[in-house]
Every structure is written in C-alpha cells, then in structure tokens.
Amino acid sequence: MAPVATPFFFYLLSGIMLIGGILVITRKNPVHSALALIVTLLAQASIYLMLYAPFVAGVQIILYAGGIMVLFLFVIMLVSIDRSMRERQFNSQWVAGIIAATALGGLFIAVYTKGTSIFPEHALPVVENDNTQKIATMLYGQYMFAFEIASLLLLVAIIGAVVMAKKKI
C-alpha cells in the first residue's frame, strides 16, 4: 500500500523532528531532553516507513526508542541531576559552536545547490513486500564480514561498559 498524503506527513514529521531536536539541545533537564529525543526518533521511524524501509523503522523503534533511550533515562535517574540543573547550561565556546555550525550549514547548502543535478529525476520503484527478506540476504551474504565485526564491536562495548560502570570487578 502506497503512502497517502506524502507532503503533509513529511512536513508534519519533519516539523516534529526539528522541534524535538531543538528541545534536545536546549532543555535544562536531561529527562526532558531525552523525551524530546524519543519523540524525534519515533518521527524518524515514521519517515523511514515513508521511504519504504519498514525493517529499519522497526529496528529504530525497538533498538533506539525502546533500548538505547531507556538506557539513557536509566542513567539519568542514577546520577543526581539536581546540581547540574542549577549550573550554567552552556559552556564558553558557544560562539565557536555557532560559527562552526553556520560554516557547516553553508557547506551543506553549497553542496545541495550544486549537486542536485546528479540526483535521478524520479525515485526508482522499491518493492516493500520482501524488504526484510532482502535485507536479511544482504546482511548474511554480502555484508557477512561486517556483520560479524559488528557483533565483535558489541562484545567489546559490553565488556567496556561493565568494566567502567561496575564498582568492583
């Protein structure tokens, strides 16, 4: 089934994402930031659905919103945030930050105005029905090595997190 009212949903979702993103970097309370980020991530999952990528959308919901963000909230509750909320929120290099961001933004604008010509005129048709099956074939075929490396990375991350967070090992 093709997406309906694509422009409306695109602008709605990207509006939600941008407002969420702004809230993430401006809120004083990290819990509010985390919740804004969750909203952003869920809106992004919907955008993935519009891009005919249901599997990535599912992974986004289950891993990002359901896993990583819960970990974030967990840690925020573990460390006391009262003190950090009373402190100054932005550091002294905010001028440098804005300049860097503006420069980067300028670069993006330049690239996108110059480079649109290489984009194809119409998006190629994508079959949604066997999206998951195709991704599976690629992951376990062409990207097998990368897949195994990713599992190694996760193992290293587990060990690293345990080593750092545990009081005595």
Binding site: L18, G21, V59, Q93, Y112, A123, A165
Partner: protein
C-alpha cells in the same frame, strides 16, 4: 510551490542536514554530558536518514543495511559512553563536561 509539494530526495537530505547541525551545536555548546551524548545520537540519526533516503533514491538496499550497522554502533556507543559517565560521576560527583580536565584521577 510545486517543488514544495513533491517530496524528493533533497527534502530528506535537507532535513538530515538540519538535524546534523542541531547535533553539532549540542555537542559543541552543552556542558551536561548526558545531553552531549544525546546530541551525538542526533548526529547519527541524521546520517541514517540520509542513508535511507539515498537507498530509496537508487532503489537498492545498501543504505538501509548501513543504517542498521549505524544503529548497532549507536547502541555500543551509548553503552560505553554511559559507562564512562557513571565512572566519571562516581569519582567527581558531577556530570559537567568542563570538569573532565584530568587525564587521570
């Protein structure tokens, strides 16, 4: 107006760029480590959005596979980052990134 109503790949790319910039500003200006980590998640998501948009444009699935790898990477990064955060908080009782100024304590 016509170009506003016909959603092309460029729209998604611009959205991704905007998110990326928000993430960069967050990383550079905030003092709270948790929020810095969350800004990094924003950056990774902006990249994911671009990859999926490109995968849609070319009709292949390589972009989506890359997005999945990046999500895996984000999980690993969050786990280690939060682990460091807890170790840091335990020693200095703060989560202010400006106070991460010693190589050893």
């Amino acid at each position: 107006m016509e170009s506003m109503l016909h959603i092309t790949t460029l729209h998604y790319l611009v959205l991704g760029a905007a998110l990326f910039l928000l993430g960069v500003i967050g990383v550079l200006t905030r003092r709270n480590v948790v929020i810095v980590l969350m800004s990094i998640e924003l950056i990774l998501n902006a990249v994911n959005l671009n990859l999926v948009a490109f995968s849609r444009m070319w009709g292949g699935l390589h972009g989506q596979v890359f997005a999945i790898f990046i999500i895996t990477d984000a999980a690993a990064e969050a786990a280690v980052g939060l682990g460091i955060l807890i170790a840091f908080f335990r020693n200095k009782e703060t989560i202010n990134i400006d106070e991460v100024n010693l190589l050893k304590w």
